[in-house]
């Protein structure tokens, strides 16, 4: 395991515009992320949690926007980060996906800090503190 405070494991990040490797499969993304960050891949557990077990052998190029968002969430929480940054996490997700974001937010706040950038009222309800950025 990397030393405590190493940003590769202490920080999780997921955003809609973040790109994935279109030729790598869902499983390979999780394996790559785990090997680079020196953490456990937890592929079975994470894929079941985000509802992508059936798509583990599909390449990222074959995934819908919502499925990509779920994979990015799985990669973001993979190292159990102390700080999780989510940029409009529900933007490409259906109702089940929104529930998943709420579950991830609940688990993260119990473990560390969660920062969400959003305009969505439902996502704002996850927050304990709000900071409005104007202009």
């Amino acid at each position: 395991m990397p030393p405590e405070g190493d940003p590769r494991t202490a920080l999780g990040y997921a955003a809609l515009e973040m790109a994935l490797y279109s030729s790598l499969t869902v499983d390979e993304h999780l394996s790559l992320a785990a090997n680079l960050r020196g953490c456990d891949a937890r592929a079975d557990e994470l894929l079941e949690m985000v509802g992508l077990t059936y798509a583990r052998d599909l390449s990222a190029g074959q995934l819908s926007t919502g499925m990509k968002a779920r994979l990015k969430l799985a990669m973001a929480i993979q190292p159990r980060p102390a700080v999780l940054l989510l940029d409009e996490p529900s933007a490409a997700l259906d109702e089940q996906g929104r529930a998943l974001v709420a579950q991830i937010a609940q688990e993260q706040t119990a473990r560390g800090a969660l920062v969400v950038a959003t305009n969505d009222p439902q996502e704002r309800s996850l927050a304990t503190h709000e900071l409005a950025l104007e202009n």
Partner: protein, 235 residues
């Protein structure tokens, strides 16, 4: 290299290999360019005098030309395919994903390791093709192999470094080419000298010295490259 480093470098290497095997963009481009050039060169050389091919190749000046041509083909094939390793990451937006998860040394070494193997495969394929098409004799195969391996590694290292340094610039492809020129000049000189010696057109000692020069160059890039890359890596 301790265990976490090895795991990280191999992870980047595996990613590069899987991406290349599935898209075949770099290798196919380099191999097609190389194949077309070898065929063109072979036609051009045979057209000098089709009945005197053996005699022509015994002339030292033509061995110089063959050495230059083969080295130029290998170099340009590598130049076509290798800088993509870093430039494609920026263009596809996946560079940010790597920055979040990886350390710069692992990224550089992983990509360079893959580029070296790709260049070796490409240069071996093109050399065999060149020799087969032209009927050129290689009286010093050891020097030839040493030059090919050392030259391939040094070209791959230099081009990887150029791609890495230019990747975050707005006009990245042009910048990578501009940086590559001064870095590749010594390799052109050593490559041609070494190849010429292996074809029997120069001194064996000079060929070995050129190959040692290229291997030393490759080692220098392997050691220094990651530190330079780390300086331009956006945290």
């Amino acid at each position: 290299m301790n265990s976490p480093w090895k795991t990280e470098v191999l992870a980047v290497f595996r990613k590069e290999a899987m991406t290349e095997l599935r898209t075949k963009s770099g290798l196919a481009t380099g191999a097609l360019f190389g194949f077309a050039t070898v065929v063109t060169v072979a036609f051009a050389l045979f057209n000098i005098n089709p009945n005197r091919v053996d005699a022509v190749f015994r002339d030292a000046p033509l061995k110089d030309v063959c050495a230059s041509l083969l080295w130029t083909i290998v170099l340009f094939s590598a130049l076509l395919s290798l800088p993509r390793a870093f430039l494609a990451e920026e263009e596809n937006g996946t560079a940010d994903l790597l920055r979040l998860m990886a350390r710069p040394h692992a990224v550089f070494w992983g990509k360079m390791l893959f580029n070296i193997l790709q260049t070796w495969a490409l240069s071996l394929f093109l050399s065999v093709l060149f020799i087969a098409f032209t009927g050129l004799e290689v009286p010093l195969p050891g020097v030839f192999a040493f030059c090919l391996l050392g030259g391939g590694a040094s070209v791959a290292g230099a081009v990887t470094l150029c791609g890495a340094l230019a990747a975050q610039a707005s006009n990245r492809a042009a910048l990578a080419g501009a940086i590559a020129v001064p870095l590749l000049l010594p390799l052109l000189q050593w490559g041609v000298t070494g190849m010429k010696a292996s074809f029997g057109g120069g001194f064996e000692g000079g060929g070995i010295a050129a190959a040692v020069g290229m291997v030393s160059y490759a080692v220098l890039v392997v050691v220094v490259g990651p530190w330079i890359y780390a300086a331009v890596w956006k945290s």
